[in-house]
Assembly symmetry: C2
Homo-oligomer: 353 residues x 2
């Protein structure tokens, strides 16, 4: 049985979207239970209308809901220990849930998740991973905005976290990993990216196939299963791609509305356009995954509908069922065991001085 904790108040529409989202998951998965946190006044009336969901859920009332426009510091001040967001995260910490899902605001959710779950030993900074549609299928891109900047060691951490997630989500035995850079030549790019490349090559881990540098257009090509970058450029890449997709959709709409022939063509090709819409549907790859913390947290888009929220919940479900946390712990241990200087070598270094 997979146990998921839910911040029912998160997102632009709160329980009216999150609970119907859970209902969709219940219809599709038989081995899931929910721990739902929220304001009783708002959650219970909706829950009463969904008896099948109610049957697999435990509801716990909270006094506070974090708002979508609360700053992280505000959210922590007013919502720590008592908000639905905090308590859904805390349920993971206490071992009552295998993963936590919230459509609440990203900054607040990350601040609370860091405060409550703490980064894993050896991880300095958590990352947010996005599932990105590609020509081949899907890839994982991280960090898309948890923190700005990052040294070589942090990029290597992200590579390990991302490849563990690729294994859990895509079930690829040895995912390929690329470092985002501005040119595939060895000489180019930021120092820390080059250094991370050397570290990954030297480590030659069993768990991933380090494939070198990739460029911005390689993300959509699906050149590697995992694309690693620091949060500034990762966030800009993600938002630039979203902006480009919306721009092209707009161009297409305009073009198909310009002439009668085009409109007739559009009607005939409706199913094709429907298919295109589905391909581009952010709901299908909805959810940023927080990696590097002592517990699984998935952030759903705030403006999503019930199907989108269900997709984020199912992403959390899949990762929990495939024991992502255990995989990450094991692979971090392996990396550090391999990279630790052999004990015998230390005196030699000291003696050499």
């Amino acid at each position: 049985m997979i146990r998921i904790s839910i911040d029912a108040m998160g997102g632009d529409h709160g329980p009216k979207v999150t609970l119907p989202g859970l209902m969709r998951v219940v219809e599709r998965r038989s081995d899931v239970t929910f721990l739902i946190f929220g304001l009783a006044d708002e959650v219970q009336p909706v829950l009463e209308t969904l008896p099948r969901l109610k049957a697999v859920s435990t509801f716990e009332h909270c006094e506070v809901a974090v708002r979508m426009d609360d700053k992280p510091s505000q959210a922590l001040r007013k919502g720590r220990y008592k908000s639905s967001m905090w308590r859904a995260i805390e349920a993971v910490k206490e071992g009552r849930a295998d993963a936590c899902i919230s459509a609440g605001n990203t900054g607040a959710l990350m601040a609370m998740a860091k405060f409550c779950l703490r980064p894993m030993p050896s991880i300095d900074r958590p990352a947010i991973a996005a599932v990105w549609p590609t020509k081949r299928s899907e890839s994982i891109v991280l960090d898309v905005g948890a923190t700005i900047g990052g040294d070589a060691k942090q990029l290597v951490d992200f590579a390990i976290l991302g490849s563990a997630m690729a294994r859990a989500v895509f079930q690829i035995e040895r995912p390929s990993v690329g470092l985002l850079n501005v040119g595939v030549e060895e000489v180019k790019g930021q120092e820390q990216v080059k250094e991370a490349g050397r570290m990954l090559r030297d480590a030659s881990l069993d768990s991933m196939n380090y494939a070198g540098f990739v460029e911005g257009d390689d993300i959509a090509k699906g050149t590697t299963d995992v694309v690693v970058t620091e949060g500034f450029s990762g966030n800009i890449a993600l938002k630039t791609a979203e902006g480009s997709a919306r721009l092209i959709a707009e161009y297409l709409r305009e073009a198909m509305n310009r002439t009668l022939m085009a409109r007739i063509g559009y009607v005939l090709a409706r199913s094709a356009f429907q298919r295109l819409r589905e391909k581009l549907d952010v709901r299908r790859s909805n959810g940023g995954v927080f990696l590097g913390l002592n517990g699984l947290v998935v952030k759903s888009h705030g403006g999503t509908d019930d199907e989108g929220f269900a997709a984020a919940v199912e992403l959390g479900y899949d990762m929990a069922r495939r024991k992502l946390m255990e995989t990450i712990r094991r692979e971090l241990d392996q990396y550090h065991a391999r990279m630790a200087p052999p004990a015998a070598a230390l005196p030699l270094v000291v003696g050499g001085e």
Copy 2:
């Protein structure tokens, strides 16, 4: 009369594409002359077939052509002073041409342009500016990859260079300028981006409307006329957008080929699809503009066709005709005059210690 120097050998196809490209420009502009540099064996046979072009051109033979895969250092070693690329740039330096166009490789072209033309006084680093299609019309994004990193002062330089280009290319009196960042809140982002924001706000220049921070999706929205960032994230944004556009085009092609109805619809809506293709056509906004050097250099895509090369040439033509170099010089002077501490204030500072 606008005089343009041309590296006829640049690009994947050399004179077979560059000269027919010039021919298109001659058909559309009456006040242009060309200084064409290249290998006589390859250029002259093509030029003989284009008498109207020949009539407005001067051809100068060069012994060396820089190859598309030459490294910048190789290109400089073998091509300095004698390659068609170098001599086309040098013609600008010598005042024989108002702008130089090459479809040769970016790294080599930038290395030669820096070496030959030198950065303008007060400019530490040149930038490459791209013209980006947006929902509103077009914007200018820089730096898309001339150099990696950049401090606040360099970002301010880029803002001045980009807004001068926006005035020349879009004929906007006071272009709006945004700094690319990861969130519009003042507290977010890289230190140097925040510092550049403060400097631009304090300067409150007549020549631009500094509009604050913008995010990745604002580029395609056209939120500001100019988007400023350092070369690493700018290059990743540009290539990610290109990758996304290609992915969506691929999805669309697949979708329209799946059923008979969709194929019939496609035929009826052909003109609409043609229109979409034109909108997405990189040839129309072909050309990276090198800014911050003592002379105008435009880089055309290497793989472009004659229409694309013509677009890059016309971009150089427009900027030369609207005296971009003079505008940039004037606005840099204005900025530095405004930012220089008043002479009288200096003793006070010294006395205060």
